[in-house]
Symmetry: C2
Subunit: 342 residues, 2 copies
């Protein structure tokens, strides 16, 4: 790992994190990682995805075969294959991002004034190439480059945000994340939140329990809003009525906290946070969160309590979501009642 | 490292970070670490502290002897000894903190409604014991237990905050820090910001260049406030006029960001952040930052531009500081002009 940081800016700043070895994610990219980090327990995502408990009513061990399908009508082998590709995408994005983290690079302000860097663009390209090589019929919607597909619509759409929390990335704060979602006929069936510097990867797969680096995680109970720990990225991301609505909830929770980007949703899935409330999120910032949160036992909806749905196609327009995620459905409902969002 | 996490709460959540080995920090506590992490380069703090460039005008290589003194009137051997003890303190606190991070524990609300945990208290006790064993004449002022000394005053005072950012710690967010300061006749001569989960340690020693894990760091230039990246922990920590003053600066910077606790000052020392502005900080949250920031070429003062000074004694009262740290003195002055603090 440390050898990646030879290309430095002002002074030598080796990143001291020595991550858990994530073996077998891609045969081409990580042979070196496997050798460089021999002390860490290997997390074999092929074996983990096959062993993960499937809660679908349609399968049982005695009936499991190559033709077993999940409740989404997708075969288990296909689902495992998609999970494997998802891991490859996160690996590839992570490789790029780690090269640029805490290095000197140009920051470009986009039309909406949000920043983007060479790391964002290169990481997205790396993911796009892998999808095109492995799943040619799948469409892709990336934050940086929009829709890519030979058709206008596709049953399967990968929705990618290479760096959610670019401002954190730019300022050397290791809590941004790579967000990867796979939609099947509009429904998120796979979601990944990956923090490539800390080497933490949350994976949610429809019908399965969410995992963090291969270990199952779970949200925690919380009966009252007044006991809840709430995260949001910034107080400045709520406009107009949304600001007032958020303030109503913020004034009722135990502790409102800031500055965690998508990592807050990951902490919620792992049971350390009770509520995350945000406004103005784009599809590529939201869709990956859904399988992760739901697979951990949590709830994630818009501010009316409705399902977060986005129509993915070549004509897809930018859609802004107000999101609330809760570890416990009790405080989810209490928060909705306080948000009073029409 | 992973073996420390056998005692888990809801589910098995091994922390994947495998930190850089920090050898020789304490002979008693880290023999195991040295063996468990063979792949990481050893950071030998004894050798680093002796090799670090001393910028004091009073010493030169040809004159260096056991009687050489720094501009503070402290001998180099003494300064090295204090740095060594400082490292031991951070090691000891880190051992405790890592045991409790992302585990289940009781959270107690103090009189001022701030939370404290067994990790805070145990980490502070561990540091106090080391100081009492190694530097008996030194006084200690800890966040949790106040003043400890046989006398009312002492030339040397250690000021300790075992966990700055307890709310981050409680919610599993690995950006809180252990803050350790050593004052000599009221002046901070040693400051440590330690992130024990990520194993990042910034050390500032009076007259020397600040280091991150043994490597020298430097703040970055920034000529205009409109180009500055600003951090503060939370918008809710500014009261009354302070809120308006902060808003004035916040509206002029390029990007206001939140949620970094003391880690923001560390990022500033390393040149990734331009400004940190906070209000209502306690002495134990401030004093350690001073040598770190100044040793990296930055500026840190109160909102009037005055030195941050705290009279440490057994009668010491709680003093609240408004703090501004800047990587570049140009934007430090510009920010002061906008704060307009009387």
């Amino acid at each position: 790992m440390l050898s990646q940081f030879n290309f430095l800016s002002q002074s030598s700043k080796p990143l001291p994190f020595s991550p858990v070895s994530l073996h077998n994610q891609t045969l081409t990219l990580h042979q070196n990682d496997a050798q460089a980090l021999p002390f860490s327990p290997a997390i074999n995502y092929h074996s983990v995805s096959l062993k993960t408990t499937t809660v679908s009513a349609m399968t049982s061990n005695s009936n499991l075969s190559n033709h077993a399908v999940t409740s989404n009508g997708i075969s288990e082998p296909d689902l495992d294959r998609f999970a494997d590709v998802g891991n490859k995408l996160a690996d590839a994005a992570g490789e790029v991002i780690r090269k640029y983290f805490r290095k000197k690079f140009e920051i470009i302000d986009k039309e909406d004034l949000s920043p983007v860097t060479i790391a964002d663009r290169t990481a997205e390209e790396a993911m796009v190439l892998i999808i095109q090589e492995n799943l040619r019929s799948h469409a892709i919607f990336g934050e940086e480059n929009g829709w890519r597909c030979t058709e206008k619509f596709a049953d399967y759409v990968w929705v990618l945000d290479p760096i959610d929390g670019t401002k954190s990335f730019i300022t050397g704060k290791p809590l941004f994340g790579t967000l990867i979602a796979l939609l099947h006929k509009g429904k998120p069936i796979l979601g990944i939140i990956d923090q490539p510097v800390l080497r933490e990867r949350w994976i949610g797969i429809s019908g399965k329990r969410t995992t963090l680096n291969g270990e199952e995680v779970s949200t925690r109970t919380c009966a009252k809003l007044s006991q809840a720990y709430l995260y949001t990225t910034s107080p400045h991301l709520f406009k107009g009525d949304a600001e007032e609505a958020f303030a109503r909830v913020r004034n009722k929770v135990k502790v409102p906290l800031y500055g965690c980007d998508c990592y807050a949703y990951a902490l919620l899935a792992s049971g350390y946070v009770d509520l995350v409330i945000e406004s103005g999120l784009q599809p590529y910032d939201v869709l990956a969160l859904i399988p992760v949160i739901e697979g951990a036992g949590g709830v994630i909806t818009d501010w009316r309590g409705d399902q977060l749905y986005w129509e993915a196609s070549s004509d897809a327009r930018a859609t802004s979501f107000n999101v609330i995620a809760a570890g416990d459905k009790q405080i989810h409902q209490q928060a909705l009642d306080v948000l009073q969002w029409q």
